[in-house]
């Protein structure tokens, strides 16, 4: 296949045909290097928008980042008139897809906007306009363009609450929004023509979709029955026209645990991370480890934060049931290696895991409380108050640590007694 013509002889951007009735009307952004603060891209990205022509109407699916609206409108105008547009679908409201929406609605005021149920309040907050009328849709809702039908799939949290996919039933094309997308800019556009984008595909999943693995699996449950699809057309990166099912399969693989765990189904896992300058926090960690080991069906692991890069620890934490951090307090704060790991956990789901904190200190020992608050912020349960020990732990304090480990392990198995307190007894 030759490189698609993205502009005409006069250098005016042109739509690219994906089928007789479907065109790409998006824009390329080759100079972008950082996306949304958290993502790097070595060759830019694309903002993919599409146009579908039916016998009784034209639909525009997604728009582009505001600064690229010129290319988008020029491509749109190369294949349709504004007064033909009857349907506008936004699969995702993030500004890189909704940037040209206000102007599109102004140019095509007769068009009806279709967004997901959860997008309603976001639309208002993003566009700061009340004037837009829209139809909220859920899985199974359809809109007709005459001989073409769009059907919606509610796929929330991939990667915002509002995200959805749109299926063009007659052509078996899935407009997937950010799902199956990547930041990769290549004028050859098609997955079997562009340069090697596998890294970008995996990297995008790891940073954008990984925190929402449960939602990915739920979405795949409603996407897989649509297979075989002729094409998956994502909102960023190459069009997946060659073997689109491989990308669906890969999402399924990536949403499972990487290596088969040796932990049996009735066991819980507890990871203890520590860092220590004079060995006091380390001794506490070892006592907690010992205490937790006394409980059957809890698989306990002990790690020195100095002994690894962050990323393997993030992988371990993702599949663990409980996490305990040991940090000394230095100058009124927990230490940097602990914060570095804690600030790297946004890419995995932490909700509902058990958390605990301990540490030795010299003066005041604020670090333990700070890390506890951070764990709560990450939506962990922190049911057992952390242990702070001034400098070198005594034998009695070491026993306290063993008891802490024991209690954490019991809590993991739901064996701890429920606590009943009177408000008056709380400090």
């Amino acid at each position: 296949m030759n490189k698609p013509a993205l502009v005409n002889a006069d250098n005016v951007p042109q739509a690219v045909a994906l089928s007789e009735r479907v065109h790409w009307i998006g824009a390329l952004d080759p100079s972008l290097r950082t996306f949304d603060i958290i993502l790097k891209t070595a060759n830019g990205t694309s903002y993919n928008a599409y146009l579908v022509r039916g016998s009784a109407g034209v639909a525009v699916i997604d728009t582009v980042k505001e600064g690229f609206a010129g290319d988008f409108f020029a491509r749109l105008e190369s294949v349709a008139r504004y007064d033909e547009i009857s349907v506008i679908v936004l699969n995702h409201l993030e500004p890189d897809h909704s940037g040209a929406l206000p102007e599109l609605m102004r140019r095509a005021p007769q068009a009806r906007l279709y967004i997901s149920q959860k997008a309603q309040s976001m639309l208002k907050a993003l566009l700061k306009q009340d004037a837009f009328d829209f139809t909220p849709v859920l899985t199974g809702d359809t809109v007709t363009l005459g001989d073409r039908t769009l059907s919606f799939l509610h796929t929330p949290y991939l990667h915002w609450p509002d995200t959805q996919c749109t299926h063009l039933i007659e052509e078996k094309i899935l407009f997937s929004g950010d799902v199956f997308g990547c930041h990769f800019c290549d004028t050859r556009l098609f997955n079997d023509e562009v340069g090697d984008f596998r890294f970008s595909f995996e990297y995008y999943y790891a940073h954008i979709m990984r925190p929402f693995k449960t939602f990915v699996n739920t979405a795949l449950d409603i996407i897989e029955p649509l297979l075989p699809l002729s094409k998956i057309l994502p909102a960023h990166g190459p069009f997946l026209c060659d073997q689109p099912q491989r990308y669906v399969q890969r999402y399924r693989e990536l949403s499972r645990s990487a290596l088969q765990s040796e932990i049996s189904a009735n066991e819980k896992t507890l990871l203890i991370f520590y860092i220590s300058s004079y060995g006091n926090t380390r001794r506490m960690a070892e006592a907690i480890y010992e205490g937790a080991m006394g409980i059957e069906n809890v698989r306990v692991s002990l790690y020195d934060l100095e002994g690894s890069e962050i990323s393997p620890f993030v992988d371990l934490i993702e599949s663990a049931d409980g996490i305990v951090f040991g940090t000394p307090t230095i100058n009124g704060d927990a230490v940097k290696p602990v914060w570095d790991l804690l600030s790297s956990l946004a890419v995995v789901s932490m909700k509902g895991k058990l958390g605990g904190v301990f540490g030795s200190y010299g003066w005041t020992g604020e670090g333990v409380k700070m890390v506890e608050d951070r764990l709560r912020g990450l939506k962990l349960r922190v049911p057992i108050a952390g242990i702070r020990i001034k400098l070198i732990p005594t034998d009695e304090e070491m026993n306290q640590c063993r008891e802490f480990g024991h209690e954490l392990a019991q809590e993991l198995l739901g064996l701890r007694q429920a606590k009943v307190i009177d408000m008056a007894d709380l400090a």
Binding site: K118, S121, A125, P161, G352, E372, L375, R376, G377, K379, L380, R381, V382, P383, A385, R416, A418, K419, V420, I421, D422, M423, L426, A427
Partner: protein
């Protein structure tokens, strides 16, 4: 004084508290994972799920209802910084 019994399911702690106490005052003392932002009913950070005893909490104000709606809260959700315990048995957990 009338008392309410409120259980924080994430930490399995039950507190007997005087009627009129806001959930925030109790949850922070016992260390439930309900997290707080503005603490004034405006940011929606402290949305919690009420699993039992919805009617044993004070009615949500118009402002709280608005914040819950804007944050796409579910129908069993309240703001922990606004809801007061009135009596009886209540069970809550972080969302």
């Amino acid at each position: 004084m009338a008392k309410a019994s409120i259980t924080f399911e994430d930490i399995n702690v039950t507190v007997s508290a005087p009627a009129g106490t806001r959930v925030i005052e109790i949850s922070e003392k016992v260390g439930s994972a309900i997290t707080y932002g503005c603490r004034e009913g405006e940011c929606g950070t402290c949305i919690m799920k009420v699993t039992e005893g919805w009617n044993n909490l004070s009615e949500p104000s118009v402002l709280e209802d608005k914040i819950l709606r804007e944050n796409m809260a579910g129908k069993h959700n309240r703001l922990a910084c606004q809801a007061q315990v009135l009596g009886g048995v209540i069970r809550v957990k972080p969302v």
